[in-house]
Symmetry: C2
């Protein structure tokens, strides 16, 4: 697949001393693989380095990374990666990036704890420089004074970052909502937002995920209240499925379990792993003896147990889906089980989530999900919160980030509604090069910033061509023709072989396949010159057989033809 970034000529010049350059290589026009470069003089820092999970288009792809071509190009300038919080779409690409660009990492303890586990698994942790910061800390990195400030999100220890540069302050909110009653009791640091705004913000980049939702996003407190009601009523086990990274949701289960005298088991590999990090670092309040192993569950009565597990997105090999399929090692769903799906389905996962709920309901369990009860709230700020941040920070220039294009458009509308002139709002795409001076911000060019697919061991070797073939194969299957021709006469020798997969049910389609064989034989024998090129014959068989099969079936399988001369 294409490799080197093509940088417009102008961009290869040194940066002017009055200019900060901001290059989002991921995270605008999408909710995923966040990665933004901030450059000044001969120094650059990266804010976040996340990945995206493939959707239905990306057949067989495991993960999607930002394209690091631009990082490679400015490698000599790179000083550090600053991390806002520990979610996959902000830290997930680090194991791939750090292999090429060994850089120190800055983030809060939980964020770096989660990164460490990742790097451990990738055997990259040796020699890695970790700099743990606390909200309020300012670290000097080259010409940048990087100030981390506390924000609330669906993971504890989330921060925004103000990068103070010699020409002004760049603020990145990270992912946030303004929750004044968060699970960990630490509300967002609106005071610091106020100070930053008063001192002057040159450029704001803010989370747009929920920019199309009117009003305010409810506090996590709402979920706590629902949990309390459900725990009060549930006759047997309570099983809560959520994102493993939603540490505060697990905390809410712990709190309810303590209140109602239940033990808690954590089930699912990523759930156990994240909890271990969060607990070791003191980010969850867990009384001694509360947590039990999944293997010990049989020692307790059903009404004394709560389980927190993975599978809220209907992921095929997750704990909840295994339970729904009666395929879980430790847990058989029983009719007095109460199951809470404490998450929203990510667009594209709805059908899988619904199927999982249906199968659980089939097993007789009571299932609560978002439509029925408020068992989940988002971690992203809605319109009124976004307006508060825009009004408080009063940035000179504004770039909505972390959202698909329609969210960025709505965020722009909100910014205009609180007085920002449209010309000061930057609607960037991934790879946009934004040059900011004290009184001007503009997109001055672009760098390569597409998607890099990880499929098995391959990073970047699967691209559009391969995906197009997979889509075609998925639609109507494949038909393989193997034929032999006499290299003197150009006539077919023996009967061509035809095998197919995913095209028709072969045992019931003998007739069709027999006629296809005959069609191929005739196609060869009708050839007009005695010494046909094998390539030519193969192409002719593909197109002619393709037409023949389409006429008979209205399907267009991939046709592969191999002709040998004998």
């Amino acid at each position: 697949m294409p490799g080197a970034a093509k940088l417009a000529g102008a961009l290869q010049q040194e940066l002017k001393p009055d200019t900060v350059r901001v290059v989002p290589i991921g995270g605008v026009g999408e909710i995923g693989k966040n990665c933004t470069v901030v450059e000044f003089g001969d120094a650059a820092v990266i804010i976040d380095c996340g990945l995206t999970f493939p959707d239905a288009e990306h057949l067989g792809v495991d993960l999607i990374l930002p394209d690091f071509a631009y990082l490679r190009q400015i490698q000599h300038k790179l000083r550090a990666v600053l991390l806002t919080h520990g979610h996959e779409d902000h830290i997930g690409a680090l194991p791939f990036a750090l292999r090429d660009f060994p850089l120190p990492l800055y983030g809060t303890a939980l964020t770096l704890g989660l990164v460490q586990v990742k790097l451990d698994e990738a055997r990259l942790v040796d020699g890695q420089e970790f700099h743990v910061v606390e909200a309020g800390d300012v670290v000097e990195i080259g010409p940048f004074r990087c100030e981390f400030f506390h924000m609330c999100h669906s993971i504890p220890d989330a921060t925004g970052i103000a990068v103070h540069t010699p020409i002004g302050t760049i603020v990145h909110t990270g992912d946030f909502k303004l929750d004044y009653t968060p699970v960990d009791g630490r509300p967002p640091d609106v005071q610091t937002l106020g100070r930053l705004g008063r001192d002057g913000v040159l450029l704001l980049m803010a989370d747009s995920t929920y920019a199309d939702r009117p009003g305010y996003t409810p506090s996590e407190q709402v979920v706590a209240e629902t949990f309390d009601q459900i725990f009060a009523e549930a006759p047997g086990r309570i099983i809560v499925a959520t994102f493993s990274s939603l540490v505060s949701r697990a905390q809410q289960v712990f709190d309810a379990a303590v209140a109602y005298g239940r033990k808690v088991a954590l089930v699912g590999r990523s759930m156990e792993r994240v909890h271990r990090v969060a607990a070791d670092l003191g980010y969850v309040r867990v009384p001694d003896g509360l947590i039990v192993a999944a293997e010990e569950l049989d020692d307790f009565r059903a009404e004394d147990i709560a389980i927190v597990c993975t599978g809220s997105q209907g992921e095929p090999r997750s704990a909840l889906v295994r339970m729904a399929n009666r395929d879980h090692r430790n847990i058989d769903i029983a009719p007095d089980d109460t199951i809470i799906v404490s998450a929203a389905a990510i667009p594209g996962n709805e059908a899988k989530v619904n199927h999982t709920i249906d199968r659980l309901a089939h097993l007789g369990a009571t299932v609560y999900y978002e439509q029925l009860r408020p068992v989940h709230v988002s971690g992203h700020a809605s319109q009124e919160e976004l307006k508060l941040v825009l009004t408080t920070l009063r940035p000179r220039f504004f770039m909505p980030v972390h959202g698909e294009f329609r969210h960025l458009v709505e965020h722009r509308r909100l910014a205009e509604s609180v007085g920002l002139p449209r010309k000061n709002i930057l609607m960037a795409e991934n790879g946009a090069v934004i040059d900011v001076t004290r009184d001007r911000a503009a997109i001055t060019g672009s760098v390569e910033a597409g998607m890099v697919f990880v499929d098995g061991l391959g990073v970047g070797d699967v691209g559009e061509t391969v995906l197009r073939d997979r889509r075609h194969l998925a639609e109507d299957g494949v038909v393989v023709v193997v034929a032999a021709v006499d290299h003197h006469t150009g006539k077919s020798v023996g009967t061509p072989e035809i095998i197919s997969r995913g095209f028709v049910y072969a045992p019931e389609s003998e007739d069709l396949l027999e006629r296809a064989r005959e069609h191929v034989r005739q196609t060869i024998d009708r050839g007009d010159h005695p010494d046909p090129e094998v390539d030519y014959l193969q192409g002719k068989i593909c197109s002619s057989l393709g037409r023949h099969l389409f006429q008979k079936t209205r399907r267009r399988p991939v046709i592969l033809s191999i002709v040998t001369e004998v």
Copy 2:
């Protein structure tokens, strides 16, 4: 694919004279392909005959039909098909069913008008018996008195059906909500519900689609108000995408267009077709001169135009998606266009809908969708409405239908909450055989009632085996190996050929493929007996090469191996 239905022995007996048999062969545990058989003595009627659209699992499948095996088995009893309304999931399978079972059709004028178009296209309309009914009509069909009563849904002329049998009344609500201010001014016939309830309902089958939504579904009136606001403000063209079958939504656009002095064009094949039927039959109020052809749009100023089009689900070849891709014959999106996506995304379509909105926003248009403004309401009743119907009809027995399993479970809960004992509630699956007497209703057996896939011209020839192959092909592609062996020595002759699609990007994987060829050669040459069976060798190459490629790539392509003896 498996053909004949397997009917439990007991079911082959004649029905007892005190028993009505109800067999849903589609529509329970799913929102789609509704089809229910009601039998008494030697007569049977079918209520609805719909289809389902494939989801992401059903690669390459075009449509999904109910399995008609049971209809075939009781063909001698079948007297008629009764239709509740004209949506695809209630009438879409008729062209397939009527080919095998020519039966008279009963339904309201709009419903039968839409059916007629379908049968016309399938060249089945000649000799078809249509019986147009009006809400309030009672038709006698064998031992059944079938009473159609008016209900509100997102298409005009929707009905419920009460089938009065000698042992009691079976009520099917059809799809409905209780909209007291519907677009066509005809509220649901709650008086008839009251009479039916007072006279006694033996079995109720009711729409469960929205059984998990608390409260009431808003009236269509809400959409009219939103349209009014948007029409008052829009600076240029207004483009409304919705379901073609949502006739009343198109009416709302017509009404707003009349109020604000705009012309309306209908764009998209199915939109034009449905509108023609609805207009011909008088189901839409359209002043002369309001409707213009898409080709005439250039004759008007942008602010004088509204367009109603297909594409609200992000369907690849629909009008709205073509506009979003700048690929529409007549319409180029401009920055002052206002686009309304007046539909909810059906689960599984969310990503496609979002991408379409994003692309339209990219072109500068203002896009309103469900999250932003109330531009759509559902046509299905929420919990309070369902309770009203249950309370009014007070059925002896209740079977929730038209919902996935979780919806049926919630509908059962609602029925219990208004006093129905759980033992009188039937949780059926497709194919369940329900025998009802005056004082007993029970599932007494089951018949085959799976999905029949339509793919191209094939009906039923694609089944799980083919789909499994397509899924496997979609995941990691296909590798084809063609090798020749000397039939005396069992050693390979020449170099095996390998071609692949969707596995790796071949031009950059020469090394991998070269090594794979060598691996195949060695696999053959290591064979221990000189005269190996070709089948054995082919199997051995598949498994050995599969392991080899997995080790190198962590991918598992479909491997097809063809060995010829020379």
